[in-house]
């Protein structure tokens, strides 16, 4: 997919290219070396020129069915065979199959006298004979400049070299010619003058005591090519060129979600966990539980019957297994079942490139669904920020292209910081990551607790809440932290706060009960009072009625009396 894309970009109005078979090289040149033309590969001693040339020939035979001729001016045939056997090329077999011709040309100036004019027709005949012998499509000459130490007449030599390059072109063979790097020129004797089409330089330099190999396409006539210096690796299966800046971001993003193994974390990540194929950074200070998160995740991966590759840079495999058992995670059965493969090695064991190449190789062989690296910060002693970053980018890109989920732990330097802040040291790695979980030590009340939060999770709703991270023999738990007017509490402070809250609640309940009782008694009192008043009223009413009755009878009596008196006095009116 990636290759096609590049080919489309670079494929306009160009001459044909031949895949070199060297991993990554065909990507940066948009297809390989110019077909039917000579290319120059230059570099200092020990930078991999011979390997480049031989891999071009050998891969041409095994991968592209193009027979090849290899002419060695420096190494003996037996040495070549031996050296390349260790790289997995059986040159003897290729020779037997009539696919490969090896020739060693020795030129020892002390062996002969030069008298008068000559030419190098012998070399042409020799080459021509070998090309015809097997119908070779590819030719490698390593290193042509040996001729300069053999013959004194440089004028003849130069004209013969010019003729050689033209001749190779005429023969239509794709050729790789290696040359020694010069002080100011690409090659010591200026071979680049004769090769018009493609010039590649290889470099092997030391930076911070770590050797880095780099490849650059200096010139590629009529073709778009990457102009950067690309690091390349020499491993047991040959050269692999690794573009620092990936040529494309074309990997397809999966919608599938995978559990983190921590239910609460799944909840925080929108209830479903990480995206498959995403890259996850778990950073934190020493002892905050990064490895435990990684182990829990791995455990969950294996429980789903998926394969996982675990790169450990800090502990031995058995030490890690033992430690993880203490939090209730047993990874050993997964190893036995073949679902988990641990690769434990000190980062300083070899260079960054070598680590990367071994990682890529193991991933290629084991074909895991998940890759975990614990911790990436241990790579810093062997490379600077840019190198580690580019290495991780390459690893992540590779993993993503295969839909492999990557989990990387990172030890934060900022060990003394008690407050919850961003880690500037991680900033440059974090942009590579799709999700970033952070663990922090929080000190207070004479104890240290762990705070956990999600800094980012691309493409999913996620919780912004701080959680307390608790490790127990039952594994990882994420707990709510206490948040109140007095701040955020962790650990026992949280527990104290929580139990305080319970007391408070009980107290409040009692109060309410008491108030309730109070009201009830008040009500009862009121009711009694009402009864008394009623009674009082009733009594008064009766009294009043009696009084009223007395009054009426008294009036009647009075009226009667008056009448009687009047009658008595015989009043006339």
């Amino acid at each position: 997919m990636k290759k096609n894309k590049i080919a489309v970009i670079a494929g306009t109005a160009e001459f044909e290219k031949v895949p070199s078979g060297i991993k990554g090289f065909d990507d940066i040149t948009g297809g390989g070396l110019p077909k039917g033309r000579p290319s120059l590969v230059s570099g200092g001693p020990g930078c991999g020129k011979t390997l480049f040339a031989m891999e071009f020939i050998a891969r041409g035979i095994t991968d592209y069915g193009e027979p090849g001729v290899f002419v060695a001016f420096e190494e003996k045939i037996d040495d070549l065979k031996k050296n390349f056997k260790s790289m997995g090329f059986d040159l003897d077999d290729l020779v037997r199959q009539k696919k490969l011709v090896l020739d060693h040309i020795t030129i020892d100036r002390s062996e002969f006298e030069e008298t008068g004019e000559y030419d190098l027709e012998g070399l042409f005949i020799r080459l021509g004979g070998m090309i015809d012998e097997i119908g070779a499509k590819r030719v490698a000459i390593d290193t042509l400049e040996a001729l300069f130490s053999g013959f004194t007449n440089e004028a003849i030599l130069r004209s013969e070299l010019r003729r050689l390059f033209l001749w190779l072109k005429d023969r239509g063979v794709t050729a790789v010619i290696t040359g020694e790097r010069g002080d100011r020129t690409i090659t010591k004797y200026g071979l680049e003058e004769y090769v018009a089409d493609c010039v590649i330089t290889l470099d092997h330099r030391l930076m911070n005591q770590i050797a880095t190999r780099r490849l650059r396409v200096v010139k590629y006539r009529g073709s778009i090519h990457g102009t950067d210096e690309y690091p390349f690796l020499i491993s047991s299966d040959g050269i692999s060129v690794l573009p620092i800046t990936s040529m494309s971001l074309t990997h397809t993003a999966s919608e599938e979600r995978i559990s983190t193994g921590i239910p609460r974390l799944d909840t925080m990540l929108g209830g479903k966990g990480f995206y498959r194929g995403s890259s996850i950074l778990v950073s934190g200070q020493a002892g905050t539980g990064k490895t435990s998160i990684a182990a829990t995740f791995i455990d969950a991966v294996c429980r789903r019957n998926e394969k996982c590759l675990f790169f450990i840079f800090e502990e031995s495999e058995s030490q890690l297994m033992r430690n993880m058992r203490s939090i209730g995670i047993d990874l050993e059965p997964w190893v036995k079942k073949g679902l988990l493969k641990c690769h434990a090695v000190r980062p300083t064991a070899y260079s960054l490139e070598m680590h990367l190449s071994i990682m890529l190789k193991l991933i290629g062989e084991f074909k895991p669904r998940v890759v975990a690296v614990d911790p990436i910060s241990n790579l810093y002693p062997i490379g600077d920020d840019i190198q580690v970053r580019s290495m991780l980018m390459r690893l992540i890109d590779f993993a993503k292209s295969l839909q492999i989920t990557g989990l990387f732990t990172n030890l934060s330097n900022d060990a003394n910081s008690g407050t919850y802040t961003f880690e500037p040291t991680e900033m440059h790695v974090s942009s590579l990551m799709d999700a970033w979980l952070i663990l922090k030590n929080v000190e207070g009340n004479g104890e240290r607790n762990r705070a956990f939060s999600i800094i980012k999770a691309r493409g999913m709703a996620h919780s912004n809440q701080l959680r307390e991270f608790v490790l127990s023999d039952k594994g990882i738990q994420l707990l709510d932290v206490y948040k109140g007017s007095e701040g955020v509490f962790f650990g026992s402070a949280r527990m104290a706060q929580e139990s305080g809250e319970i007391d408070e609640r009980l107290r409040k309940n009692e109060e309410i009960e008491r108030k309730k009782r109070e009201i009830e008694s008040k009500r009862k009192l009121m009711e009694i009072e009402i009864e008394i008043l009623k009674e009082k009223y009733a009594r008064e009413e009766v009294d009043m009625k009696i009084l009223i009755g007395q009054d009426i009878s008294r009036e009647k009596a009075e009226a009667k009396t008056t009448k009687e008196i009047a009658t008595q006095r015989q009043i006339d009116r």
Partner: protein
């Protein structure tokens, strides 16, 4: 004679000398077709042999264009190349042999003074 060339292309010349020294020189001249340089080389070689070799000698001319395999087998790069097969040690001279003195030095017929 340890090896015999498969063919002697241009000319095979034997010249008997009276001295019964028993020593025979075998000289091989590798050329690539009849180029001016190869013709010059052959002429020069013939002359040098006639002038300076008192013993029996053989000149074998090998045309690499006819026998390309020999270029590889005999480790020939430059042409013309003259090889003194016998007497041992094997001597190698490249070029059209125009510098007689150097040829003689190369063939051990003249000590460098």
């Amino acid at each position: 004679m340890p090896t015999k060339p498969k063919t002697n292309q241009k000319e095979k010349k034997k010249e008997k000398n009276e001295e019964p020294e028993g020593e025979t020189w075998i000289l091989r001249l590798y050329v690539a077709g009849q180029t001016p340089n190869s013709l010059i080389a052959f002429e020069n070689l013939k002359k040098i042999c006639e002038d300076h070799l008192e013993c029996k000698y053989t000149i074998e001319v090998i045309d690499l264009t006819k026998h390309p395999q020999l270029a590889k087998d005999h480790q020939i790069i430059a042409v013309p190349t003259l090889i003194r097969k016998l007497p041992v040690p094997v001597k190698k001279i490249i070029g059209n042999l125009s510098n007689t003195e150097r040829v003689l030095v190369g063939l051990d017929l003249l000590k460098v003074t």
